[in-house]
């Protein structure tokens, strides 16, 4: 039987469905159970190359002819590493088990033999009919059979599934929606034939066979697991896919594992070290061959060859492997574990940071990935979403201009107006600061009244009045909500609407207008109008829209008001406010009748309906009277401009990628200081064709190049001039100080221009094509700020990928919405803002917090520290292990290349995991070079990370060289001293054990002194670990060399008594001191010189740099300096199509249901659904967010 092609499910027939052995609804995200844990986990761990390598070493060590070390020198660290990882895996899996259990044990109501019974989720089978109630999670992928709502409709929220917060509508097939109650459903025995499980969230195709009839099924009939039922009392569904077959689970693929650049570098270096190891092994093996041939063969009378060895070549072969074993500590197994531990520590510091805690939303920053921390210190490009990330997505009515009079002041000057005594219906949250406007309303200024009347009538807001006076507005866009709320507070309260009427309370008096028409908004019209008839019977058209389009359609007599208002509009726009112009027109009954006729005609047209309607609208929106203008503040999140300023001082380039319109995006760009009026040029790329985009890009690049060229020439001339002048002055005035260099540098800075690039979504599509992307990247990277508007989620990801591909720079993407997920996932680091728009972005992110401004702390403080610490850690770690291991290499030349170790085997076992692990871990976790507030003060401190200065191949070689130098000293100084030295009782000191103890002690002391030098921030932990490690070395050594242990295991502890008889000798201590001095003095001198002569990283020089930067910060408050080009920031964030819904009465029922979704910008899909139902022939249009078609129709 083949079930892979299609799936057959028969309702209420478990026997039938069991034949196919569909997956049950029990999900298992856990990997192990108690029995399988050990084998499976070990198997997984040994898939890691490093672990396998150490296992291989362990096996090598079991061959007695090769074994140069005891088995435990490898197995102890390996076991330690494996068990630490296993414990971590086990805890993770335990929590997965717990959450699995919790989910699997949720209750759902299943229809079994005609009655509803409570069943656990995991016992739900394919073919069962289950009942869902409001606000319940959907338990499996269901076919909607019936619902309590009319027409078998039900509403779901899919935030968990695809991240869209708006509600969606699902409808059952009409035949099943009539079934209704459980009694009928129990006898339902339809059979569904559908596609096999897949991960496509928006597609489903199947057929329902029932009573000899076929009904086709689409995604519209499906309720998917992970959705939540909203605004629907109850519904019934047939389980089609369960458990792992559900689309939710099919979509949860393994996430792409992100690696940091340090990781990659580390892997390369480890490979190199392996190569180095093999080379060393080869050299020593060759040496062994020579030695065995020349000396060893003659020495056989005292030392016979091992049994299988019969010639020197074979001996050399074995010696190679022996050396591989003892030299393997150059790549210590503890490296990977230590790196993980350090990163984990840094992640905790991020989680614990109080300064990244937002008390309003009670969320702390969270490092969701623990492996990327140091890359936070290397970010060069930030890709940011706008809405909800830079802005709060809260609109406030900030200023207005009524009949040539501007109202509204700076928020700090006057106290907030109190509306309650004047208006009981006022919204207490509304803020306004100018009492003149309220006075004007109170005295009954007709223009002011008309202004607010317009705001209370001309909109598509729905109202909900739960109890008398408790109004809740459900606005499609937050700007509209802000305007209607403003009108409400100033005494023009929008109360309710029906398809044909709007009821308001005007200055305490209830008025009902009859709504004659809504001339809906769209992208081209950039305005909307309503035509209402007031109770007195007068017909009036109210229109609000972008100033650019509205001011053209005014009656000529408005000239004077218009010029004042447009001045105001300019002023508002420069403040970064979103503006709308308001106007009205009185219509006579005849005019209305005539227009109504033509409108009806256009509405009914089957072809070019849109065009005809637009033409009809255009016809009546003429000769209007200007009322004024509104200015709405798209409230930026706290600290956004400052953060952006700091980040750009840190040489991080910020790109804003937004789905918003160009005007809005540019406005925000200005208000968050990404774009400034000082900029030399803001390139705008908005071509629709490949050629035009290419041309625009080229001319921008050309202009930039020209400018750079000119400014360089100018700079050269300036320098030359100043030199000549300085020389001349010097000749005339002997010994007078040369002119201060400051003005010159100032001039130069002014010359280097700043450019910005604004590119539209449709142009971006062309710019991202393979043949143009290089041009796009070079143009964009020449600019200081880049804003991409009207981009789709996919394009966001493409832009990120583009930079990753062309720039080899670390990228960070920050966003809050589902549309940012793709870019969050494709950037090196993804940051999610846990805001209002669901948690999908957070779930996809590596770091999350609730305010954009925390980004500066994340990068400049935590990232910088992490990078610094990791680099210092790695440098020291490689140094330490080379110093430790290479001693064996030198010893090889004196012990017949026999792979004899220099140290006691216990010392080798413990060196990396006990004697030297904690001090370097403490440094890796706690070290700081400058305190956090300094690195925020001086963002330039961030640059070494971007340039990879602290740990790169060069630094690595320096560390290695230092390590090798140390090993040379550590071997040859004891060699030279001890070979002839004797104890004070005449016993020679040159025995192997004394030598081993001396070298080991010198090594431990030298590496401890080195860490003392490296540690820049001595917390109590550093002290405890450094001194504790040193102490533990001596304690453990004395214990291992004690008589007690020897008496118990005489064959294991050969070094009995060595510690005391060695360390009591003054010569030994003199040797150690000598070796330490020789190792450390050059390092000290070198570091001092570097700090004294070329203090790259020194705080002091950075300080002077920053003083200069501060001085040339542009003066604040150059507002209004821009002339000429006017930015139109008209505020319409919503889509068209609402007016139609309102007038047709379609969404009147919805007003109490799904209106919350109106506030979302992604709300198009369910509206589309409704519209598609109406015009079934219209092709499914792309959602309104970015639809080039509409633009091209015109």
């Amino acid at each position: 039987m083949c079930v892979c092609e299609e799936r057959r499910v028969r309702a209420n027939d478990r026997e039938y469905n069991e034949k196919f052995q569909y997956a049950s609804n029990c999900i298992m995200t856990s990997k192990y159970n108690i029995i399988t844990f050990l084998p499976v986990n070990l198997f997984e761990q040994f898939q890691e190359v490093a672990n396998t390598y150490f296992l291989f070493l362990l096996i090598l060590q079991l061959i007695p002819q090769i074994s140069s070390l005891s088995w435990f020198t490898t197995i102890v660290p390996l076991a330690l590493v494996l068990s630490i990882t296993a414990v971590k895996d086990a805890t993770d899996d335990y929590f997965r088990h717990k959450s699995d259990n919790q989910v699997n044990n949720r209750q759902s109501q299943v229809l079994i033999r005609g009655s509803l019974q409570n069943e656990k989720w995991m016992n739900v089978r394919v073919g069962d009919i289950i009942k869902l109630e409001n606000n319940q999670f959907v338990a499996a992928d269901l076919l909607l059979l019936s619902s309590t709502e009319p027409h078998g409709l039900c509403y779901i929220e899919t935030a968990e599934l695809d991240g869209e917060t708006n509600m969606k509508v699902r409808q059952s097939v009409s035949v099943t929606s009539e079934l209704g109650d459980p009694n009928n459903l129990a006898s339902f025995d339809g059979e569904v034939v559908c596609e096999p499980p897949n991960n496509k969230l928006d597609r489903f195709s199947g057929t329902l066979y029932w009573r000899e009839k076929k009904y086709s099924l689409t995604n519209q009939n499906m309720l998917l697991r992970g959705c939540v039922l909203r605004n629907t009392e109850a519904c019934y569904g047939l389980v089609i896919f369960a458990g792992p077959d559900t689309k939710l689970m099919q979509n949860s693929g393994r996430t792409k594992f992100k690696r940091t650049s340090i990781d990659r570098l580390m892997n390369t270096l480890v490979l190199w070290i392996f190569g180095f190891l093999v080379c060393m092994g080869m050299i020593l093996a060759v040496g062994n061959a020579g030695w065995e041939k020349e000396v060893g063969s003659l020495f056989q009378s005292y030392l016979a060859w091992d049994t299988p060895v019969n010639n020197f070549l074979f001996s050399a072969f074995l010696s190679f492997w022996s050396y591989v074993i003892i030299l393997n500590t150059v790549v210590p197994i503890s490296l990977y574990v230590s790196v993980e531990v350090i990163r984990l520590g840094h992640s905790y510091f991020i989680n614990w940071d109080q300064q990244m805690f937002c008390s309003q939303c009670n969320t702390a920053a969270e490092a969701r990935t623990t492996t990327l921390n140091e890359e936070l210190g290397q970010v060069e490009y930030i890709f940011s979403d706008k809405t909800g990330t830079l802005t709060q997505n809260i609109m406030t009515f900030n200023k207005c201009s009524i009949n040539g009079q501007s109202y509204g002041k700076d928020t700090h000057t006057t106290c907030r107006l109190d509306f309650t005594p004047f208006n009981p219906l006022a919204d207490p949250d509304f803020c306004f600061y100018d009492d003149k406007l309220l006075e004007s309303v109170k005295v009954g200024d007709s223009c002011t009244h008309e202004f607010f009347r317009l705001l209370s009538l001309c909109h598509t807001v729905m109202s909900e009045e739960k109890s008398e006076g408790e109004l809740v507005y459900k606005a499609q866009s937050p700007d509209e909500g802000a305007l209607v709320t403003a009108a409400r507070n100033f005494g023009f309260v929008f109360r309710s609407r029906t398809p044909g009427t709007i009821t308001t309370t005007e200055m305490g008096r209830t008025v009902t207008y009859s709504l004659l028409a809504i001339l809906d908004f769209n992208n081209i019209r950039k305005r909307m109008s309503v035509i209402v008839r007031n109770p007195e019977g007068r017909i009036r058209l109210y229109c609000k829209g972008a100033d650019t389009v509205l001011l053209e359609r005014l009656h000529p007599c408005n000239q004077e008001v218009m010029s004042i208002t447009s001045d105001h509009l300019n002023e508002y726009a420069t403040d970064g406010l979103r503006t709308l112009a308001l106007a009205y027109r009185d219509l006579s009954e005849d005019e209305w009748e005539a227009w109504s006729e033509s409108h009806r005609f256009a509405d009914k047209a089957t072809d070019c309906r849109e065009d005809r309607l637009a033409a009809a609208y255009e016809e009546i929106e003429q000769n209007m009277m200007l009322l004024g203008a509104t200015a709405i503040e798209d409230k930026l999140q706290e600290g956004v401009p400052e953060t952006i300023a700091v980040l750009s001082l840190a040489n991080i380039k910020i790109w804003v990628l937004t789905g918003d319109k160009q005007e809005t995006a540019v406005n925000i760009g200005y208000s968050c200081k990404m774009l400034t009026d000082d900029m030399t040029e803001v390139f705008i790329i908005s071509g629709h064709t490949v050629q035009s985009v290419r041309q625009e890009l080229r001319s921008a690049l050309l202009m930039w190049a020209l400018f750079v060229f000119l400014s360089r020439r100018a700079r050269e001339r300036m320098i030359e001039l100043s030199r000549r002048r300085g020389g001349g002055v010097g000749k005339q005035l002997h010994g007078s100080p040369p002119p201060p260099p400051l003005p010159l540098s100032n001039l130069m800075d002014n010359i280097s221009g700043e450019f910005a690039l604004v590119i539209n979504g449709h142009s971006l599509a062309h710019a991202l094509e393979a043949d143009m992307e290089a041009e796009f990247v070079s143009t964009a990277c020449a600019c200081k700020a880049v804003i991409c508007c009207r981009v789709t989620p996919l394009q966001k990801a493409q832009v990120v990928e583009l930079i990753k591909k062309h720039k080899k720079a670390v990228t960070l993407a920050i966003g809050d919405g589902a549309n940012d997920i793709s870019m969050i996932k494709s950037a090196h680091i993804g940051v999610g803002i846990s805001g209002q728009e669901g948690i999908q972005a957070v779930l996809a992110s590596d770091y999350s917090f609730s305010q954009f401004r925390f980004l500066q702390r994340l990068l400049l403080v935590h990232g910088r520290w992490s990078y610094l610490r990791m680099c210092r850690f790695l440098c020291y770690f490689f140094y330490k292990n080379f110093a430790f291991t290479m001693v064996h290499f030198w010893f090889g030349f004196f012990c017949g290349f026999s792979a004899q170790t220099v140290y006691d085997q216990y010392f080798i076992t413990l060196f990396n995991i006990v004697y030297t692990s904690l001090p370097v871990l403490a440094m890796g976790i706690f070290d700081q070079d400058v305190p956090d507030h300094r690195s925020l003060e001086y963002p330039k401190l961030y640059e070494p990370g971007q340039l990879n200065l602290l740990f790169n191949k060069r630094e690595f070689f320096i560390c290695i060289a230092q390590g090798i130098y140390t090993s040379v000293v550590l071997f040859f100084v004891p060699y030279a001293v001890l070979s002839n030295a004797t104890q004070s009782n005449g016993v020679p000191l040159a025995d192997y054990q004394t030598f081993a103890v001396t070298t080991a002690t010198a090594l431990v002391i030298v590496v401890s002194v080195q860490i003392v030098l490296d540690t820049g921030f001595w917390t109590v932990f550093n002290h405890v670990f450094v001194w504790g490690s040193l102490g533990s070395y001596f304690i453990i050594m004395f214990a291992l060399h004690s008589q007690t242990l020897f008496r118990i295991f005489p064959n294991q502890f050969h070094f009995v008594g060595s510690a005391q008889s060695t360390l009591l000798q003054p010569v030994v201590w003199l040797t150690i001191a000598l070796a330490t001095a020789i190792c450390i003095v050059p390092v000290l001198a070198f570091r001092f010189l570097k700090l004294d002569l070329k203090p790259q990283l020194s705080d002091t020089v950075r300080y002077t740099q920053l003083v200069r930067q501060k001085r040339r910060k542009p003066p604040e408050g150059r507002l209004g300096a821009r002339g000429g080009s006017r930015r139109s920031g008209y505020a319409f964030a919503h889509q068209e199509g609402f007016g139609e819904l309102i007038t047709s009465g379609k969404n009147m029922r919805l007003s109490s249901l799904a209106l919350a979704s109106f506030a979302s910008r992604h709300s198009s899909s369910w509206i589309d659904t409704l519209r598609r139902k109406k015009h079934t022939h219209t092709p499914p249009s792309t959602s309104g967010e970015c639809s080039p078609e509409t633009n091209q129709i015109k």
Partner: protein, 368 residues
């Protein structure tokens, strides 16, 4: 195996946020502790001219006097060395070296006259030195059974595998087993003072007190305790192949026989380098007035048993006095003087560099 990014907990997470009555909101504000906020009090040392330059001078000032002291002490130590390998035809031991064979049970004696130019005061230590002898070879080093040497009866009868191929002969265990024991140095050195009046006075050589205390008293023990009849205890074992006598006949003194024979213990303490010396005998100073070894002519009488020519080894006899710091060791003194001078010099150079080119506005700016 479902390893996925999906976690059922996440599915849960949302309902607590959006659902009504998500419970009382727990305050998630991180604790304001110095540790969690990374504000731990810390000492932040910086390498400045004020700390580094004095350090160099101090190191120099400490090292140079120590070096001078060491050098002087080392120079006052008297040391005398004779190579008696017998490579040269002129050497008295040439014949012995040439005629050597392992089967030779009768030892060959050679007599080497020498002269001490200076009197040796206080105790004199007599060493034998071997060159090109790889006591530090891995296979050599591990070829011993410490358990057997510690007097364990089981290990005596069944030596450890490490001892192979010197663990047993004809299924009889070797005691002591292993390559180290097998190759034990067995030349006998005797010293005679040739009195100016023509008589040859034997010099008393003490053979105890030449091993580490822990070796003698802890690490090495005869099986069956110290007072047992060694011949009986070692019954059933055979002597190492190269040895002339079994282990229980190394000395007549029961305190210095068997495994606790000090010559044996000294040999078993393997050397770190292929050229080494081991303490052989001590010449105790017995008369407060006269030097231990006065100036004059001496004779070294060697029972030549130990072959080294096959592997181009050398054998030496060394006489040395010692000081508080041990034997003659000119390197240490010179090294200390050198390092001290270099530090001092570096200090001066750095001082000059710092004054000429150094970044001196450091401290001025940092306070701002």
């Amino acid at each position: 195996m479902m390893a996925s990014s999906y976690s059922a907990k996440d599915e849960d997470g949302h309902i607590t946020v959006s659902g009504p009555g998500g419970g009382t909101l727990r305050n998630k504000k991180p604790e304001n502790t110095a540790f969690k906020q990374q504000r731990l009090p810390a000492w932040q040392p910086i390498l400045t001219a004020g700390t580094v330059l004095p350090a160099f001078f101090i190191i120099g000032l400490i090292f140079i006097p120590i070096g001078i002291g060491l050098y002087v002490t080392s120079n006052n130590i008297k040391e005398f060395e004779i190579d008696y390998t017998g490579d040269d035809t002129s050497s008295p031991c040439y014949n012995c070296a040439q005629n050597f064979s392992w089967n030779n049970t009768k030892s060959c004696t050679c007599i080497i006259p020498f002269q001490l130019d200076q009197p040796y005061e206080s105790n004199v230590f007599m060493y034998y030195g071997l060159s090109n002898f790889y006591q530090n070879h891995r296979r050599y080093v591990k070829s011993r059974d410490d358990s057997q040497l510690n007097g364990n009866i089981d290990s005596l009868k069944k030596p450890s595998k490490e001892c192979e191929p010197y663990a047993s002969v004809d299924n009889k265990p070797i005691a002591p087993c292993g390559a180290i024991a097998n190759s034990m140095f067995n030349d006998t050195l005797k010293l005679f003072y040739n009195d100016p009046n023509g008589t040859s006075v034997p010099i008393l050589l003490t053979s105890t007190g030449i091993a580490w205390w822990t070796d003698k008293h802890v690490k090495f023990r005869n099986p069956g305790g110290n007072n047992a009849n060694l011949t009986a205890v070692f019954q059933g074992t055979v002597k190492p192949v190269n040895w002339h006598r079994p282990v229980y006949e190394l000395d007549t003194d029961p305190e210095n026989n068997g495994f606790i024979n000090e010559d044996f213990i000294v040999w078993m303490r393997t050397a770190a380098l292929p050229t080494f010396r081991k303490l052989y005998r001590i010449i105790q100073k017995n008369n407060n007035m006269a030097p231990t070894l006065p100036r004059g002519n001496y004779t070294l009488v060697v029972d030549y048993n130990y072959p080294v020519r096959s592997f181009e080894g050398r054998k030496r006899m060394i006489l040395s006095t010692i000081s508080w710091m041990g034997g003659k060791n000119p390197f240490l003194g010179i090294a200390y003087i050198t390092v001290g001078s270099v530090c001092f010099f570096l200090g001066v150079v750095l001082l000059v560099i710092h004054h000429k080119y150094g970044n001196r506005n450091n401290s001025a700016n940092i306070s701002n």
